[in-house]
Structure formats: structure tokens, C-alpha cells
């Protein structure tokens, strides 16, 4: 039985002093339930993701102690992909009729700081200043620019687009548009990436309510079909984050490529059918690379695409229409549900000032993060 999304809820992303991640999560759940027109006791199972909240399933105490099975999930930046995938799978297998995916986080300011042991890495890797995921993004796009002729200006165009899209989104964090010149004038953090080309860790929450497709008519929300969910980890030879070494002479594609192929195959939908995409833009370079890795363009084509505005809301293939991670920041557990929230609004035709014209029918969501894991979700009307 196919799963459909009947409700989405999003707590704004940003900084909310004095408000806990779990309170944001509960707000997002209430919004999603309201959107779907269902009440909490109707929820038969849920999957809840967070980095900072050790017991995200404790959210049940704020929603009603109904005895519902809630499972905590975590896959780094792909956490929300796992929550949504399991919530859909629980319906597809026939185990449940109505489920929920929830994500919430509240990160301290600044770069993520953790002991390398949490990722199975040796202490010296952190002591000597190598354990920063941002290094990977700088190194991957530096090589990509070298191999495929991408310029610094194109990086800046991506960031400028995402800030511009965020300025039309009242739930986004960074809503002040920045020009290509301002972005190129900001300090280099990890060459070639500059301050305004990065997303920052922040706070926020999201929730998505799903039900069996044949029961969707009972609920208020206009259903959006879940066509595919795929999650893949890195293969040997992939150039991946947090790797003290990588094999020489062995090359494999990113897990994004693997997850994308699997998702397209499951959905029976091809890249040419995608009408709106949300791609992991941890930094401007990531969005450029992920366009190609998800099959949405060829390597190197991004240079022309950005110059021509093809990924703008009014372009051929709108990407990160709500501002993406660059405009919204990244509360890790919630980030992917923000993508789903945006795609659902776009497919319903209710995205307001940032609505993609022409009644988009297929939405594509992609996540990527440590330790080399990618999740892809394909939705359609």
C-alpha cells in the first residue's frame, strides 16, 4: 500500500532563546496534525530524529501519553530521511495506517565540535585540527572546480539565490538578500568557501503526517504521494567526509549517486521529470556538486546553469526554493523535514511568493552528511 503525506508542520528555523528543541518539535507536530486534520491519538507510530536531544521519543509527554510506539532515529544530516522513510515504510508494509515523522534540534553557535571518538576516529585527528567536516566541503569543491571549470562567482551565485529565496520565506533564518559581490567579499573560511557560502547550525523542528493512500480522502490535507525513499552509505573509493585516508586508485561515486539511482528506479521517475528540488547545500559548493550527483545535470554544466538562472524559482529547475540550508541553517534532525515541507507546499501549489509556476508534479529531496551517508526522497502529486 502506497503512503501519502497528508500533513506538514514546520517550526521556524533560527535562534529561539529559552525555547527547547522538544517544545519546537511539539509545535511542529501540532501544526502537521492540524494541517492533516487529525488528532494525536490517531497516530499509530512515529519516528523521531535529533542530534542534541538524547531521548527524542520523550516528545510524547508533550503530545499525549497514548502508548504510541515512537522510535528514535539518527543518521547525521540524513536523519530526517530515515524518519520519513521508516514512517512511509510502516504504512507500505501494512503495519500501520497513519504515522508521523518528526525532527528537532537546537545546536549551539559555531562549528560543530565533538570528540572524534563519536565518529570512530582517533584522538589525534581532532587534536591536530583535522576533525572539521567543513574541510571536506572545501576540499571536495576545490577539486571539482579544478576538474570541471566551476568558478568562484558561480559559488557566490548559488548562495545569493538561496538567500534571495529565503527572503520570501517567513520561516527562514537568514532573510536578508546578499549580492554576489557581498558574498565574494566575505572572509574565506575553508578555501574556496567563504563565510556567506556556508549554512550554520541553528534551531528548528519539522513534522510530517502520512497515511495509506486509500484512506487519504478521510483527512483534510491534499495528499502528496511518497514515490521513493532511499538511503545509502559510502562505498570504498568514494571521496568522503571524515576520512584520515582514502584508497589510491580506487574510485567510487558518492552515496548520493547510489541513493539517487535507487530512488529514481523505485519511483519509475527520471531526473528529467523533477520539477522542483531541495538539495543538501551545506555550502554553495555542495549544491553545485549535488546537482550533478543527483543526475539533474552533467558535471560542469552548473557554470552555465547558474549564469542563466536555471535553478531560480522561475527557472527550468528550481532548487532550494525555501532558501535551503544556506537560508535556513541546519538543525540536523529537522533539516530534511523542512525540505519535505517545502516540496509539499510546492506540489499543493500553496507556496505563496515562492511558488514554482506551472503546477509542479514531482518534487525531489536530497540529504548528505557524515560519515558519508545520503538520503533521497521523491514525491509527486
Amino acid at each position: 500500500m502506497e503512503a501519502v503525506i497528508i500533513g506538514v508542520g514546520l517550526h521556524p528555523f533560527g535562534r529561539f532563546p529559552g525555547k527547547s528543541a522538544m517544545d519546537m518539535g511539539a509545535d511542529a507536530v501540532r501544526a502537521a496534525l492540524g494541517d492533516a486534520g487529525v488528532s494525536w491519538p490517531q497516530v499509530q507510530a512515529g519516528f523521531v530524529g535529533s542530534l542534541e536531544v538524547y531521548n527524542p521519543d520523550a516528545i510524547v509527554g508533550r503530545l499525549g501519553l497514548t502508548g504510541v510506539p515512537l522510535r528514535g532515529v539518527f543518521n547525521g544530516c540524513a536523519t530526517a530521511g530515515t524518519a520519513l522513510s521508516l514512517a512511509a515504510r510502516a504504512i507500505e508494509t501494512g503495519e500501520h495506517d497513519l504515522t508521523i515523522a518528526v525532527g528537532m534540534d537546537k545546536h549551539p553557535r559555531g562549528a560543530f565540535a565533538a570528540d572524534p571518538s563519536v565518529a570512530g576516529l582517533p584522538s589525534w585527528y581532532g587534536q591536530t585540527g583535522l576533525y572539521l567536516t567543513t574541510h571536506f566541503f572545501g576540499m571536495k569543491i576545490n577539486r571539482y572546480m579544478h576538474d570541471h571549470g566551476i568558478t568562484h562567482e558561480t559559488l557566490a551565485r548559488v548562495a545569493a539565490k538561496n538567500f534571495r529565496n529565503a527572503s520570501a520565506n517567513d520561516k527562514a533564518w537568514r532573510r536578508t538578500p546578499l549580492s554576489v559581490e557581498e558574498i565574494l567579499g566575505s572572509p574565506v573560511l575553508n578555501y574556496p568557501l567563504r563565510q556567506f557560502m556556508y549554512c550554520g547550525p541553528d534551531e528548528g523542528a519539522g513534522a510530517v503526517v502520512l497515511c495509506r493512500a486509500d484512506q487519504a480522502h478521510r483527512y483534510a490535507g491534499r495528499p502528496v504521494r511518497v514515490r521513493a525513499c532511499a538511503l545509502r552509505s559510502r562505498r570504498i573509493g568514494a571521496f568522503e567526509v571524515q576520512s584520515p585516508s582514502l584508497p589510491a586508485g580506487v574510485q567510487a561515486p558518492s552515496p548520493t549517486v547510489d541513493a539517487a539511482r535507487e530512488a529514481y528506479e523505485i519511483a519509475g521517475i527520471g531526473p528529467q521529470d523533477v520539477a522542483v528540488a531541495q538539495l543538501q547545500d551545506t555550502d554553495a559548493g555542495s549544491e553545485i556538486i549535488h546537482l550533478a550527483e543527483n543526475g539533474l545535470c552533467k558535471d560542469g554544466e552548473q557554470e552555465r546553469m547558474m549564469a542563466d538562472g536555471e535553478t531560480e524559482i522561475l527557472g527550468r529547475l528550481p532548487v532550494n526554493t525555501d532558501g535551503g540550508l544556506i537560508g535556513n541553517g541546519e538543525p540536523i534532525g529537522a533539516s530534511g523535514l523542512r525540505q519535505i515541507h517545502e516540496l509539499v507546499l510546492q506540489l499543493r501549489g500553496t507556496a505563496g511568493a515562492r511558488q514554482v509556476p506551472g503546477s509542479p508534479a514531482v518534487g525531489y529531496a536530497h540529504l548528505y552528511g557524515a560519515p558519508g551517508v545520503s538520503a533521497v526522497t521523491i514525491l509527486s502529486t
Binding site: 582517533p122 589525534w124 576540499m139 574556496p192 570504498i236 584520515p244
Partner: protein, 157 residues
Amino acid sequence: MTVRPGTRQIPVADGLFTWPSDRPRLIGAQCAGCGLVGFPAGQACERCGRTEVTEKLLSDRGVLWTFTTQSFRPPSPPYDGADTAETFRPYALGYVELPGEVMVEARLTEPDPARLAIGQQMRLAIVPYSVTADGTEIVTFAFAPVGESTASAPEEA
């Protein structure tokens, strides 16, 4: 970063590189099953998962595959450089491909991205990156562009 003669030095971790040594080498491991070379040693093979690996001293020359820079002091802990946010000096890091062996992620001795280029020849250098309260320097491995001299890995070596 240069190594001052007479200064007491300790490696950041045992088993990472041969030290002290006139010509230090990184200590990698080769899988007894599939032959894959990894670094650091002491782990299961990343390709086949076998735990039978043999120690292998890696080439001290390689080619810069990619690089980036670190322009602000990393969060500490885990970073334990003896600097402060004010005294921090930006560094570069990259992957150096040791031909036929492995690509190693390492600090680079040249911090200026304008003076680094993908494809350039690099060689291993052991450099101090921190210092303890009693003045003992903590050294780690890095790669230097070939042509740039450092005391620990002389060009003629």
C-alpha cells in the same frame, strides 16, 4: 613551522609515523586479504573488513590531490593547539596521494592557497603544532611542497 634543534619533542600519538627518525615515514597497514593499504594502522580493512593487516611504511612523497584552508581556530576540545583565537595562525590541509598506496589527509606546511596547486609534488614533514606547559613541542605529520625546506625532512634526503 620549523623544528628547533635541542627542543624536546613528542609525537601527538604513537604508531602514526616513525619517530625519532632521520627520514620519518607514515605507518600504514596493508590488508592480508585484499591488499588494500590504509592509514593509520591498527584498523580493519575498509574494503573487506578483515582484521589481519600488516604494518607498511608509506612513501614519503606524493601528489596533492586537493586542499583547503582552516582560517579560524578549530573548536577546542578536540583541537589542542597551544594557540588562542588571537594568536591562531591559519593552516592548510589536503589529501596527498602516495602513488600506488593511499591518499592521506594531512596538514600542509604552506598555508597560502595561492601557493598550492592540485597536482603538485609533496613530501612528508614532521612539524610541531602545539607545545606543552614545560616547552615540549608536540609534533604531527604534514606535507610540504617539494622545494620548500624544513629541518626534519631535508630536500636531499
